[in-house]
Amino acid sequence: MFHLMLQKILHKKWMVASLLIGNILLIAIAVSHPMYQEASKKKMLTDEFTNYMHDNNAYPMLIDIKGLTRKFDGREDTKRIREFANSVASQFGISETEKICVKDLVSSSATPTTLYNRASSEIKLIVGCISDFENHTSIVSGRMYSNTITEDGYIEAVISQSAMIEYNLLVGAELDFKSLKFAEKDMVKIRIVGVYTNSEDNDNYWVESPSYYKDYLMIDSGLFDQGFVANDTKKYNVNEHWYTLLDYTELVPEQIDNIIAITEKAVEENNNVYCTMETPAYIDLLKDYAIKEKQIMVTLSILQVPVIVLLCAFLFMISRQMLEMEENEIAILKSRGAGRLQIIWLYFLQSMFLSVISVFAGLPLGKLICKILGASSAFLEFSAKRSLAVEYTGEVFKYCIIAVFVSMFMTLLPVLSKSTSSIVSVKRRRSRKVKPLWQKLFLDVVILGVAVYGYYSFNSRKDELLMTVLSGESLDPLIFLSSSLFILGAGLVSLRIHSLLIFLLFKLGKRAWRPASYTSFLQLIRSSSKQAFIMVFLVLTVAFGMFNTTVARTILANAEKNSDYNIGADVVLKEVWKNNAAYANTPEAAASDAKFEISYTEPDSGRFNDINGMVSMAKVFRSETTTIKTGKDEKQATLLGINTKTFGETTKLDRSLLKYDYREYLNVMSKNSDAVLVSMNFRDKYGIKLGDQITYNVTDDIISGSGTGIVYGFFEYWPGYQKTKVVIGADGSTSREEQYMVVAHLSAIQEKVGVLPYELWFNMGGNTEGVYSFVKDNEIQLTEFIDATEKREAISREALFQGTNGILTMSFITILLICGIGYLIYWTLSIRSRELLFGIFRAMGMGKNEVIHMLVNEQVFTGVVAIVFGLVIGWISSRMFVPIIQIAYSANDRSLPLELITRDSDMARLLIIIGIVFVACLAVLIRQVYSMKISQALKLGED
């Protein structure tokens, strides 16, 4: 039997090769799913932590345990705190990157014996130590402390730069702590021998930065223990602070629940007398992640469904084609006494054989696919820089086995029906023209109906869906399903339309058609079920291709556009502004004659003009808590203070968003220094008219004031203006809140209210590098920094976007591949099976060119028409479903109307590849027709 199977395989090597390709692809895609999920989950988790670190400038995977060792049993407490700190961390199963212990004497008054311009003679300083201090600091001046008491009885200490500034302490200063005794003996005397700073910029060791320790005199840890903690010295309360930094890159999603549970238990149980554990930042991160993970994984899973369905259909099609070719052999085997089970067994063996090969090829291919997925930066775009750590897990093999079963099922499915064939039934079946079951049952119309119903039901509750997504749920999988069903249903319905169209065309010119066209139309009408499958396949390929590119391009482009719009310019930053508020409360200020005015010192923004590559810069004052008064009404809104000229030069706004170019609004506004522009929702709410007067009331931390403006215009969109904002309530419920904005002249606000800290908006021509280096080189301190380019990149790196792009790209390529193979096979087989017929045509006097004309005609009316149908269905389905699907992707910062984006280049790629397949088919066809010997073709028919 095995021998027979091998012979069979060799005989049909091209068909078997296609079957193998389909099999390998199915397995590869199936196994890539868990691999990718696993790898991207891991990456997502790590990203989550890295982003937190980036945004908050704090290490997230930190266990922070603080305890107070009381008098009299210091050492015992110390041990307990240390053990507790160790026990929590060790339960996680993640390695520690750093364990830092800070100890200090609760507070101590010191009398400096060397004074430098100090009014007060006594200062509060803390004697403390940090473990492994020496390895994480560099000395700015002086030297590091020694670990012994000096001969003259001093303990050496180092101080931070901020301590130096704050207390005016310098190297060499000596301090007496009258209330402290070292090892209960001598009074503590400390000499400052050096000033330290952190040795590296981004050292996680410095959970609290050196400036946090401005009140600390750091001494050697050993010396500290010896003097204040050791068994015989129990006199002092010692604060002990254990920071355990765990390596979050080792975190795997499976550990999350465990870590949350352990941590919450530790926080709850140990908030007792001797130590407390802060609720760590990672708890929220992990909880957020868990929600996000579910949401993303559901989305990514659903995205893969269409390609898997198509692959199954492909396998079915190839298997059926192959069986049709072998129908005679089966019938002969049966007539020689082979039972039905033996036939099935033969095909089962073949299927097993192919599956084994496919597993070996599919597993590594799956891994490769995963890597490609991980490297995708946009639709059909990859970045070599991005990579994923991919592993084979148990889950991978589970998926592999399922894929093998599915592929075997799909290939064996046609065998089950064909295995009953006998010579008689084969002939009989060939003579009958059967309508496919789905056409008889109108399944296509039913499917389409369900999908359209799904569309209307989802479309009518778009806002509700948005809120569901915002509350952390994944988008209803049925939406994706509806879109796939729509494409499938419409594809099948298009076959009916196709048949009708061909029939009408045929009837229309029945008399006039030349023999070649006449025959091809008849062929299309009379053997429609044969080309039905390949047509559906083509329609689905093109439609899914178009749908996929539209989804991928649209979600990313819209997210990026929204991000750009919400930021308003290429770079937005805000410097640290100094003010004189602190001075206001001093006796000196009170004593001065002149009325003291609180004000900010405006930094010199002119120096930013030196930024390399800067196109323009605008000063923009933004206050989100401005109260706007219009007659009796009062409402909180965002006040934007701008200079119309620089604002127009620095910002961008899509022309299509407003009735006129927004610069026209700026021009109108520039005519009057009191002119203001008001957002439309504000106008609608309060019935404001042009020329009305409004009052804005600005309240800053230290300054408040008000001004009036005359309404000169209304806008719906404005750079940096979000019309609505999603508000998440305490109970997790979400709602949308209208946001209002008033745009006024910066000069007017400054004149009426005062000079308040403003932002600087930059037009960098798209390249923001220059700002970074400028800020770094000039050591400019910022309170706010937003880089639009960086934000856009961050979006494309997000697991959801990257996964979506990756999967859609992969689906697209797979679809192209199987469509190409499928079409080529269909054609070659179709031609081969009709060789006798061509012989007859030729014998009857039909020329070679006429035969080719006939075949090209057929190809045009199946292939080209299918592509047109595919394009139309793809276009319609995109218009219908993409606006709903993208809800899952741009939930909370959506400001702009959705714009569907289909890149012509994507469609061109698709069509070019289909075109190549067509040309290849045509080449095969022409070769076959030209090399055909009529007499031989006719002989062939006799066999």
Binding site: R430, S431, R432, K433, R514, P515, Y518, T519, L522, Q523, R526, S527, L837, I840, F841, R842, A843, M844, G845, M846, G847, K848, K933, I934, S935, L938, G941, E942
Partner: protein, 233 residues
């Protein structure tokens, strides 16, 4: 005087076989086919009768020798000229089913009219031909719905529909029972008489010998014998 529509002069046909001597299927064959008659080429399987018929039917080209169709040499004609000849002046009936499966009986017959660009009333001609073979009632059927004999009769109707001068029938009775075979031969005779067409058929059935006006016996690629049963003047 007897008029010959087809003549061959010393026709050879060799089939090259890779790595071996070519097989000589026809050797120095010279035949003359009288017009408006039924000529039978008989001989055992493999004797070369089908090859000869393919050559005189302009489906195949001889390795050597000349073939004349109505006085003009066809062995050196271009493909296009041969196609035209086949379209206008020749009809074929093959051993096994040679109907176009996607066309009904009517359409099959009509198709040869389309191909030859028949100027007359097509519908009438199709019906006339179907009537001649006794299948006027099966016009709307698909070929698969007919028996072997009926299919062969449709093939005959199609072969004569466009009023060719010669109809070639390659073993048209081989797959039929003897009763049906006789029916087919009788149709041929009727066609010769009524339509004035020349029919050349091959057969290995010795029972049909008498039916032919002229009978060539082909053996081992050579004309072994020629019997003229009836001379057409």
């Amino acid at each position: 005087m007897q008029k010959y529509i087809i003549k061959t002069e010393n026709v050879d046909r060799n089939f090259p076989i890779a790595g071996r001597e070519p097989v000589k299927v026809l050797k120095q064959v010279s035949v003359e086919i009288p017009e408006r008659s039924l000529t039978i080429l008989r001989g055992p399987s493999g004797s070369g009768k089908t090859t000869l018929m393919n050559i005189i039917g302009a489906l195949d080209t001889p390795t050597a020798g000349k073939v004349f169709f109505d006085g003009s040499e066809i062995s050196s004609m271009s493909d296009a000229a041969k196609e035209k000849l086949r379209r206008k002046n020749v009809g074929f009936v093959f051993q096994s089913v040679s109907l176009i499966p996607i066309m009904t009986v009517y359409e099959n017959v009509e198709f040869s009219l389309r191909l030859s660009n028949y100027k007359g009333d097509k519908k009438q001609r199709v019906n006339q031909c179907l009537k001649m073979v006794g299948l006027q009632n099966r016009a709307g059927h698909m070929p698969q719905e007919l028996s072997g004999g009926e299919q062969q009769r449709v093939a005959i109707a199609r072969a004569i529909a466009h009023k060719p001068r010669v109809v070639f029938a390659d073993e048209p009775t081989a797959e039929l029972d003897s009763q049906t075979a006789i029916t087919v031969v009788n149709i041929f005779k009727k066609l010769v008489a009524e339509e004035g067409v020349t029919i050349v058929m091959t057969t290995h059935d010795t029972g049909l010998m008498d039916a032919g006006d002229t009978v060539y016996t082909i053996e081992d690629g050579c004309v072994a014998n020629c019997v003229v049963n009836r001379e057409i003047v």
